[in-house]
Amino acid sequence: MTRTIRFGVAVVLAATLSFLTGAYAQPKDSLTIGLTLEPPHLDPTAGAAAAIDEVVYANVFEGLTRIDENGAVQPQLAESWTVSYDGRVYTFTLKDGVLFHDGTSFDAHDVVFALDRARAEESVNAQKPLFAAIDRVEAVDLRTVRIFLSRPEGRLLFNLGWGDAVMVAPESANNNKVTPIGTGPYKFDRWVRGSHVRLIAVADDRPLQRVTFRFLPDPSAQVAALRAGDIDAVANLQAPEALIALRSDPNFEVAVGSTEGETILAINNARPPLNDVRVRRAIAHAIDRQTIIDGAMFGFGTPIGTHFAPHHPAYLDLRSASHYDVAKARGLLAEAGQPDLKLTLKLPPPTYARRGGEIVAAQLKEIGIEAEIIPLEWGQWLEQVFRGKNYDLTIVSHTEPLDIGIYGRDGYYFNYDSPDFRALMQRLNDTSDSSARNRILGESQRLIAADAVNAYMFQLAKLGVWRKGLTGMWQNAPVQANDVTGVRWK
């Protein structure tokens, strides 16, 4: 009897299957991108979550300027601008005929509204320092906006290209978390929470009419979904081990690019004996970057010698200042009178930290430092390490673009206190000429490398995978975004 049942079940299954196969085929004017994290909401001006920008940046929301794939500033809603001689007044000419997705027009008053809202006292914008130099914003006429600064701010045009500085309308700004209304080429269609966000093209002649962002938290599920054809691309694959196999698959294209994520072994500079620069230098010399990149990241990642992205024009290769040298590291420790050191190494959840941490601990052991590994959840890490500064060593990736300024911040978690560095940041703020700025940025990189504030390990790679035939996907991630405005199927 059971045999008959089994046979019956098989027949029914087979019949249903053949009936349904092919239901998931993709037409070629749509694109489905797999993302690891789901955004909490869709308002880039009210949260730090990178996942928000990964969906809406450049697609739904646009700023006065935008940052392109290589990290350069490009005009967006402002088609041109002039800067006053003293660098304190920026005059922007806006694009004509721009509409928000709800049909209201975009003009100079919206710019005033958006920027004033972002820098207001009660604003919950996660990047308020972007606007710190702005004194007031004035609409000269409908297509001309003037921004007055309280001090020269060489980064203003770059800052205005961030997701946190996008243009929003007074009519819709308060609902942007749930129904984002921007000026971009794609408008929000629907969000099935926990599953996907769908955007549709505003214009009929866009090569991609529908763009869906699917949220797949598990890296092996991402790979399976790619292979099964459920998704066309994974913007940043979290499983470097799977990339090797995908590379040899003729159906997919793999692009290894760079991100803004400086991954560092952060050191609590205030805590003895780590306040001794010799001990910090010893730690820096004990770290073999390539072994960590190979062991923790399957070889994907660029070694760095300072807190700066290697693809940036101002980057200096300072790895030689902290080259891997066990004997030298031991000597420095002996000189500092710290031959047997016990330190805590607190690790947040990401793979780079957990896997990298084990290798770092083994490497520190070589020079006689006993590092006790303490794994933490993000909440605990923020509480203990970031806010409480109760740690010796930790591993974390700093993913904001051009964020060397954190070394000049008061009470920042690695407790680096250097008047020289702060003076450099002051000079940087007062300089708008880009080559002069790059020189100052170079000096700052040298200073933090010489002081061995942290041990600089590697720049996180962006591991993009997509189906053959898709062009225009970003290879690098100078901002955490998936700009699909230039993407099409061949």
Binding site: A48, S195, D230, Q380
Partner: protein, 315 residues
Amino acid sequence: MLTFLARRVLLLLATLLVASFAIFVVLEVLPGDAALLMLGIEAQPDTLAALRDQMGLDRPALSRYLAWVGGLAAGETGVSYTYGVPVSQLISERMSVTLPLALMALVLSVVIAIPIGMLAATRRGTVRDYGVMGFSQIGMAVPNFWFAILSILFFAVLLGWFPASGFPGWEAGVRKALWALVLPAISLALPEAAILARVTRTAVLDTLEADYVRMARAKGLGPRRVLWSHVLRNALVPITTIIGLQFAFLLAGSIVVEAVFALPGLGRLTFQAVSKRDLIVLRDVILLLVTLVVIVNFLVDIAYAVIDPRARYAA
């Protein structure tokens, strides 16, 4: 029966009150500032303060607890920190995935386990019995997430019969939606079916040796009649207990399986709420799970009364 029901409802309310207090206390001592987690490490102190104020994190714990329980009693849930929509909306969206999934898995597990368990018991010591026991052993030992990944690789990637992950939503059509739940339901059902088959086998074996079974046989009833109407009915009491317990496991197991299949269900919501410290969502979801478990236990009690008339008087 009425007093039985009334007593049950009172018990449910008391359980929920105790559970709500426990949930609140546990979440209160959880490390991690929700505002900091949301704004990230580059956040400015004044921005943080503004958000903490918006979320009401500065108010004393007791007043927040009373506000929560009072709100629930009035039928109002809070607004999620992270999603910015009412929790009730989130939960009902998610339940439309998790509830069908759990029911599908439960039905699958019962449909697989009871026949093979009975088969094993009636053919005790034969190859079929060992086969069923072997299946049960493997089914219990295999972790469901691993089985889930294997079944994705085989049925979705290799054969292309099912979508590898995700849920198209009910508005995409009932057939499509149910289809997306098949692999997850099998992954969830397999370990439960393995346990249930074993329990069924033992329960049936126990009953087979009872005097009334011998009596039934002696009075000339056919083996099939004895098995289905005398043995099974009596064996159903322990089986029902296990099914009731398993429902709770199915809801909990959905956290893992929903992550592997990227299903927008209650499990994903819970996981996301934990990692984002969305306490407003978390406490309501946990309370809902407690309620479901208590209700299922209640239904199991009623099922006892239906199966076994003696239980009606004992209650």
